[in-house]
């Protein structure tokens, strides 16, 4: 299997990472969230008169807890991705390479006694 696309994506990520390392070494950029900066602009435009009409009814009590929940979000997603790609990959292997295609239940060819199935 050709790895051309992987190399291109890796190159893009490396350029991005190199740029980040260079920028964070040479400037004192804060790397704050873009939404927080938008809040600053809103303050500028309205002359600081705008009061949010609602507050989040719960906020992560600290940056650590917030990282935990963001990490959890990514982990849930990554777990699901890994599970299904593994499932599909194994399914394809068994169907194509081991010749089970068309036989959805191999054991149905040779019925086994009930007791045997439980011992599997």
């Amino acid at each position: 299997m050709s790895r051309k696309l992987e190399l291109i994506v890796l190159a893009i990520i490396l350029i991005f990472a190199a740029q980040f390392i260079f920028m964070s070494l040479t400037t004192d950029a804060e790397y704050a969230g873009a939404d927080g900066e938008a809040e600053g602009v809103i303050n500028d435009i309205t002359g600081g008169t705008y009061k949010p009409i609602a507050e989040p009814f719960w906020e992560p009590p600290s940056g650590e807890i917030e990282s935990l929940l963001f990490g959890l979000q990514a982990a849930i997603g990554a777990g699901i991705l890994g599970y299904f790609f593994g499932y599909y990959r194994a399914k394809k292997t068994y169907e194509n390479e081991l010749g089970y295609k068309g036989k959805s239940k191999p054991e149905s060819d040779m019925p086994s006694p009930e007791g045997d199935r439980h011992s599997l």
Binding site: F20, G33, A34, I42, G77
Partner: protein, 235 residues
């Protein structure tokens, strides 16, 4: 980055809910019908949703010294269309609004409109146009998902500029002046992240094609001839 809780005053937050809710309902209807007709697509639906979960959890540093995160909605848009993407996007936005104080419940309508509806719609249209023009499949996926991501933040910019025009009343000049200010934050921060999102989405599609191209053909995402070609000479 989504519009924060409480940062859209009346009538804007109601307006975006009014626009988004019909789209979400239509998406739920389409999703139910699809799952009933083709149960075998459920894992793929989970993969598309999970991809949004992962990508929108990653706050990345950008060239201008601020952080934002990709959306990940392009995959869902290409496979399932914009309506179902709106449902998946809403789930992620709800998680972030409830547990992370990121985005918000009053601004949910506006955020769904940008990330769940217009972004995926643009990705979907670019994808269809690109495939019609017979361009390379992975290049088309890259373009569609990158521009879908970027459009999401252009819409966020427009939503904020509409709510906060430079003049007290909403005029075109006031809108444009505010649009420029917000665009400096969102559009500039997002451009490199959109490129990353496009690249990673193309890679994910390569793996989907590898293990499950038949389902993509069945969903009419790619034609059978394209699937054969991609599997023969995987990029």
């Amino acid at each position: 980055m989504h519009i924060m809780e409480g940062f859209l005053a009346t009538p804007w937050w109601q307006l975006w809910f009014a626009v988004s809710i019909p789209a979400i309902l239509y998406g739920i209807y389409k999703m139910n019908r699809l799952v009933k007709e083709k149960r075998e697509i459920l894992p793929l639906l989970a993969v598309a949703g999970a991809f949004i979960f992962v990508l929108s959890a990653l706050k990345l540093p950008s060239v201008n010294g601020s952080c934002s995160h990709p959306t990940g909605t392009g995959i869902a848009a290409i496979i399932f269309g914009p309506a179902i993407s709106a449902v998946l996007g809403t789930i992620v936005l709800l998680y972030q609004a409830l547990f992370l104080a990121h985005g918000g419940l009053t601004t949910l309508g506006a955020n769904v409109f940008s990330m769940g509806i217009v972004g995926p719609l643009v990705a979907y249209l670019i994808y269809k146009a690109g495939m019609k023009a017979n361009l390379n499949f992975y290049a088309v996926v890259f373009l569609a998902t990158a521009f879908g991501d970027w459009t999401t933040y252009l819409i966020t910019t427009a939503e904020l500029a509409l709510a906060y025009p430079a003049s007290d009343v909403l005029t075109l000049g006031g809108f444009l002046s505010s649009f420029k200010k917000f665009a400096l934050i969102f559009a500039v921060t997002q451009a490199p992240l959109a490129i990353m999102e496009g690249a990673v989405s193309a890679l994910l599609f390569k793996y989907v094609v590898n293990v499950k191209s038949d389902i993509l053909v069945e969903m009419k995402v790619i034609e059978a001839s394209v699937a054969r070609k991609l599997r023969g000479t995987t990029a």
